[in-house]
Structure formats: structure tokens, C-alpha cells
């Protein structure tokens, strides 16, 4: 029996200032699976994530999370839904006047009645999970881009979410740190059985973390592959053009 669908897009349309970004996007993600989304810049990958977490509303079509239309949720229901989700922003989106530990603790301090001791323990555990256990007292301006991403990841994980959305987790990172981040994403999926969507340009990231992959072009899912291997073996002319005519499938 197949796992239940956690996220479903049904013919979603979204335009900004008359320019269509999503043009009839349909997709679904099953529980415990990691969907990789690739595609050219400006084709609506991040907008897709923003629809799921209720930061953006579709002009037409429906975005369902656990069979509930995100657009019809009340503020309270949306808050409850968000508490079960984690969102890893491209640049970390850390609050710049809070220390690393305070940034990670923020969702707990604001939304739970946990004691400071419990919060500190949880924060330290999450920082250690992403291998930056000794940076809690630093400020966001004092750490590197890779560390900021890890802090963003630790913050997204602090509420033990069932669903995590990653917006370009490898962007701007050197290959070594990118590999380490990818390993962590994979470990989280396997150990904690979370459902995830990873928006990324980098082939090695998608290959390392995704269970299935879609290629988004002009606001639609042009290619939907059941595995990264199937995706990178695709003969679709648009995919070949995106990855470069000169690239062989072996290289990919």
C-alpha cells in the first residue's frame, strides 16, 4: 500500500504583475518521500514552496497539505500547520540581532511554554545535529554562509517538523560544505522519516537527497521522474538543453 499524499498541487496558477509564474502546476508528494525540484531561474520553484507554507496564495487551483486547502485555513489553523513544518531559507533568514542559539530557540520561545532549560537543551541538540554545536553564542554576522544555512536548518528542525521545505540548500556553498549539508538532509529524511521538498539547481544535491524529481519549466512540471537516476537519464530535449548539450548523461 502506498504512503498517503501529504502535499498535492492541483492545476495551480500564479501570476505577479501580469507575468505568469505558475501555469497549471500539478504535483504530489507522499509521506516520507523527498521531492527534488529543478528548473531554470524564475520558473516558480521558490513560489511553489511559498504556496505550501501559506506565504503566497494561488490565483487559481488548489494547494492541499494533508488534504486541507491551505488557502481556506484560518490564521489559527495555518499557525498550527506551520508549527509542523520547517522552512530552510536560501540565505538562512536569520534574525540579525539575535545570537545563533536565540535564533534557533525563537520558535520555541514564541510558541511553547517550555522552560528555558528545556529550550537550551533542545537548541544545543539541534546545533549538534547540524555539526555546529559550539557556535550558539555567536551572532549571524560572525559566521560563514555555510554555517548560516546550518543554523537555518537547525531552526527549521527545532519543532521536530513532519515536513521540511528547502529553498536552494546548496546555493553559494563550496562543494565540501554542500556535500555535508546534503548528507544531513538525507540523514534527516531517513532517520526522522520527514517528508521534504528540495528546490535546487545543483545536480549533486538532487542526486544525493531526492527520492523523485520534477523539472519545472514555465510554471509547469515538464518532467516527473520516479528517481534521480531516471531523471538524469531522460532524453527530454528541454532537459538536455538545460544541462548543456555538451554534457553527456554519464557526466550527469
Amino acid at each position: 500500500m502506498q504512503d498517503p499524499t501529504v502535499i498535492r498541487f492541483e492545476d495551480v496558477h500564479k501570476a505577479y504583475g501580469g507575468v505568469s509564474v505558475l501555469d497549471g502546476l500539478s504535483l504530489e508528494v507522499r509521506r516520507g518521500r523527498t521531492l527534488g525540484i529543478m528548473g531554470p531561474s524564475g520558473t516558480g520553484k521558490s513560489v511553489t514552496l511559498r504556496h505550501i507554507i501559506g506565504l503566497t496564495r494561488a490565483d487559481a487551483g488548489r494547494v492541499l497539505v494533508e488534504d486541507r486547502d491551505v488557502a481556506t485555513l484560518t490564521r489559527k489553523q495555518l499557525r498550527e500547520l506551520r508549527r509542523r513544518m520547517g522552512y530552510v531559507f536560501q540565505e538562512g533568514a536569520l534574525i540579525n540581532w539575535l545570537s545563533i542559539a536565540e535564533n534557533v530557540a525563537l520558535p520555541l520561545r514564541e510558541n511553547t511554554s517550555l522552560s528555558e532549560e528545556e529550550i537550551s537543551e533542545r537548541v544545543q541538540a539541534k546545533l549538534e545535529l547540524v555539526h555546529i554545536g559550539d557556535t550558539g553564542s555567536k551572532m549571524p554576522s560572525e559566521i560563514s554562509g555555510g554555517m548560516r544555512k546550518r543554523v537555518g536548518l537547525a531552526r527549521a528542525l527545532i519543532t521536530d517538523p513532519e515536513l521540511i521545505l528547502y529553498d536552494e540548500p546548496n546555493a553559494g556553498l563550496d562543494p565540501e560544505i554542500a556535500r555535508s549539508i546534503n548528507r544531513q538532509i538525507r540523514e534527516l529524511s531517513e532517520e526522522l522519516d520527514v517528508t521534504a521538498i528540495v528546490v535546487e539547481h545543483r545536480i549533486d544535491c538532487i542526486r544525493a537527497v531526492a527520492d523523485e524529481v520534477i523539472f519545472l519549466d514555465e510554471g509547469r512540471a515538464l518532467v516527473h521522474a520516479a528517481s534521480p537516476e531516471e531523471f538524469f537519464q531522460s532524453e527530454h530535449p528541454r532537459l538536455l538543453r538545460f544541462f548543456g548539450e555538451a554534457e553527456t548523461k554519464e557526466n550527469l
Binding site: L55, R83, F89, E91, A93, L94, E110
Partner: protein
Amino acid sequence: MSFLRQFLENTGFLFSLLFKALTRLDAVPRRRRMIAYHMYNGGIGVLHVVLLVGLFMGMIVALQTGIELSRIGQQDQIGIIVAISMAREMGPFITATILSATVGSAVAAEIGTMAVSEELAALEVMSVDRVRYLVVPRLVALAVMCPVLTVICDTIGILGGGFVASSQLHVGYQLYMDSALDALLPTAELIGIPKDVYAGLLKSFVFGVIIAAISCAQGLRATGGALGVGHATRGAVRDSIIAIIISNYFMTWAMYQA
């Protein structure tokens, strides 16, 4: 037409934000550390500017009026004029203008930077109410600090006027201070506070709320990277000063004319 639409949109957003902030004041006890931080920034951080500008403003008022009054032999009235003009108008207005240019612009830039770097989106995703978290502490801090700084500005302005009166206009310092205090005290109407003083403080309280609300609103609506933050900062100072002047007229009318 687009200007009118934008104006209505901005005004609607501003009043809606102000309403939300005023109905979320229960967040104050929880945000006391943040409020204290913003009070320090909006108070101690600009104190030297208020002292300097207030001192010279009092000196200018004393000099300008003193020269004319000397011609008709009425220079002993300088204290009255400096005290009343500082307490009623100059103190609140100067303080509010300084706060708009320094703290208001910083608030708009801070929140605007958060808006363009997705920090506001992150707060929303984490279910953190940005009005309680960002707006209420700044609003309370400015509403408190604006009157406090106004008192300091009034005091230093009156003292500065006294210095000019005694050193350049041959009015005794004691005579000047007596006339300044006499000008304020007979109008005492509210728990022993002279009307000219509490009217000025009421104005500066409103100015503090105006500066905070406009600056936060501008920051929250910032879009488009560094350019957007620049627009928000400029808009915060411009709109705050316009709103201060317009509201000043209506408050003066309500308190002294109506």
C-alpha cells in the same frame, strides 16, 4: 491616479498596523527587554543631539526675540517667550524631528532589511506575530522616550535662552528664570503640571506613536533589495515629519483654541 491609490493604500496599511499594535499591547510585559533596548537606543542614543539642538534652539529664540524686545525696553519678557515657545512648540517639535531623522529612519531601515532578506517571511513561517514582536516594542519605546526627551529639550532650551539673555541682552539670569517659571506655573491645571508643559508632553507622546507607526509601516512594506530599503527609510522620515506638522496643528487647535 496611481499616486492617490498608493496614498490610500499606505494610509490604510498604517492605520491598520496602528490598530493592531494598540490591540496587542498585552505583549508589553513579555517584550520588556526589547522595549528597554529600544528605549535606550531612542533615548540615550540621541540624547546628545537633543541637548545640542535644544540648547541652540533656546539660544536662537532668546536672541531673536531679545533683540526686538530690547528696542522697546521689554527684554525682561524674554524668559516668558522662551519658556512658552519651548514648552508648547519648539521642544516637542524639535525632539520629534530628531527622533524621526535618527530613530525613525533606523527603524524603517532595520525592518526594511528584514523584509527584503526574508527575515519577515521567516517570522511568519515560525508563527511569530510580527506586530507583537517588532512593532509593539518600538511603538511603546518611542511613545515613552519622546516625552522624556522633550522635557530635557525644553529644560536645556530654557537654560540656553537664559545664557544668551544674561550674557548678551543684559537681563539678569535670576530675572530671566523667574519670568520663565512664572510664565509656566500660573497655567497649572493637571495634577500640578503646567498646561504648557503637559500640552507639549501630550503632543510629544502622539509624535512618538506617529514616528514608530510610520517607520514600522514603511519598513514592513519595503520590497526590492537595498533600493527598497532606501525608499522605506526616506519615506519614513518624510511621512513622519509631515504627519507631525499636520497633527501638531490639530492638537494645538484642540488644546488652545477649541
